[in-house]
């Protein structure tokens, strides 16, 4: 889901940077109020966890690869705004140091993975978990489904961003200038592999860690309610 440089045209890249700048500003304003000094290590661990979990490429035999993002997990533990900051940090290091995701595409990648995943994820988690006790099985299932839905929402949006490119710009000869695949190929491709496989990996990662946290640190699970 890390869109490389060149797959999105300047218009799309620019729009997503323009959208991200106020969101990053809002995130720092909100996190200033909600993040406790004692939570700083958890923010760092959450960001690093997301970075590392994205290194675990899952193969589709003979096909493509994909990975979990861990974004819903971070959002459940720290709230979606802090998760936005944590995942943005991971994406910036990935792009700058490892060429994983483009610099021009960073705004779009941050919107997909650092905004859509945490907010759709936490929304789903709250909806399904309801007022269930922090230690309940229902919260584990809610976390898993939130992971599944959050990752898929981001993947489908990335598919739309890819698919938009041939519509927006073509050379005089009718060739694509950026991503060559339109909606009809890009959206089903991105949606299909995430709905079938990678979404479930995100679900499993989210549910397992939440289950672990219920035993080890249940006090962390109430956090998303307050932010």
């Amino acid at each position: 889901m890390h869109i490389p440089d060149g797959y999105l045209g300047p218009a799309t890249s620019g729009v997503f940077y323009a959208v991200m700048i106020p969101l990053w500003m809002a995130a720092s304003r909100i996190v200033k109020k909600t993040l406790n000094a004692r939570q700083v290590p958890l923010l760092a661990i959450g960001a690093a966890f997301s970075f590392v979990i994205m290194m675990f490429n899952i193969p589709i035999p003979g096909g493509s690869t994909g990975h979990a993002v861990g974004g819903v997990l971070v959002a459940i533990l720290l709230g979606p705004w802090a998760a936005m900051i944590a995942i943005t940090v991971a994406l910036v290091i990935q792009a700058l140091l490892f060429g994983d995701g483009g610099i021009t595409a960073l705004g779009a990648n941050c919107f997909n993975m650092a905004v859509v995943i945490p907010f759709v994820g936490v929304g789903t988690y709250r909806l399904i978990a309801g007022g269930a006790p922090l230690e309940s099985k229902r919260r584990v299932i809610a976390a898993g489904l939130a992971g599944y839905i959050g990752l898929n929402a981001a993947a489908i949006l990335a598919g739309v961003e890819f698919g938009l490119q041939p519509v927006l710009s073509q050379s005089a000869a009718g060739q694509a200038l950026y991503c060559p695949y339109g909606f009809r190929i890009a959206v089903p491709a991105m949606a299909g592999e995430h709905l079938l496989i990678f979404g479930w990996v995100e679900a499993l990662v989210t549910a397992l860690v939440i289950k672990y946290m219920q035993k080890q640190a249940p006090e962390l699970l109430g956090k998303e309610v307050r932010s």
Binding site: P4, G6, L35, A47, M55, T65, G99, C179, P180
Partner: protein
């Protein structure tokens, strides 16, 4: 939180296991993620390299491309796995540092 030590250890363990993300795709003959192909692969997929993509694609030269050292593409899985773990350590360390500094700058000082 009293259990961050366990979480740090878990993170370290994940970094050591990260070459699985390299070895498994190789074993199952899986290629790039969808939409993350290099120009050679695009050429063979669609028959041309989109002009704008070619130009913008050269926008940034990452120091550790694809979590490996430059020119290590054909070094074999053992060495690539070493480079992968090295990348994981360096990357995670920088992510921790940056997130920590941001967190410190933003967080409420009291409590």
């Amino acid at each position: 939180m009293k259990n961050t030590k366990k979480l740090w250890m878990g993170l370290g363990l994940l970094i050591l296991l990260s070459p699985l993300g390299l070895i498994l795709p190789d074993h199952f003959k899986a290629g790039s993620a969808w939409g993350e192909w290099g120009t050679d692969e695009l050429q063979s997929r669609v028959g041309y390299v989109p002009q704008g993509l070619q130009k913008l694609g050269e926008f940034w030269k990452a120091p550790l491309p694809d979590y490996a050292f430059k020119g290590w593409e054909d070094k074999g899985l053992a060495r690539l796995s070493t480079a992968y773990v090295f990348s994981g350590i360096v990357g995670a360390a920088l992510v921790v540092l940056l997130a920590w500094l941001l967190g410190r700058a933003l967080a409420r000082k009291n409590e």
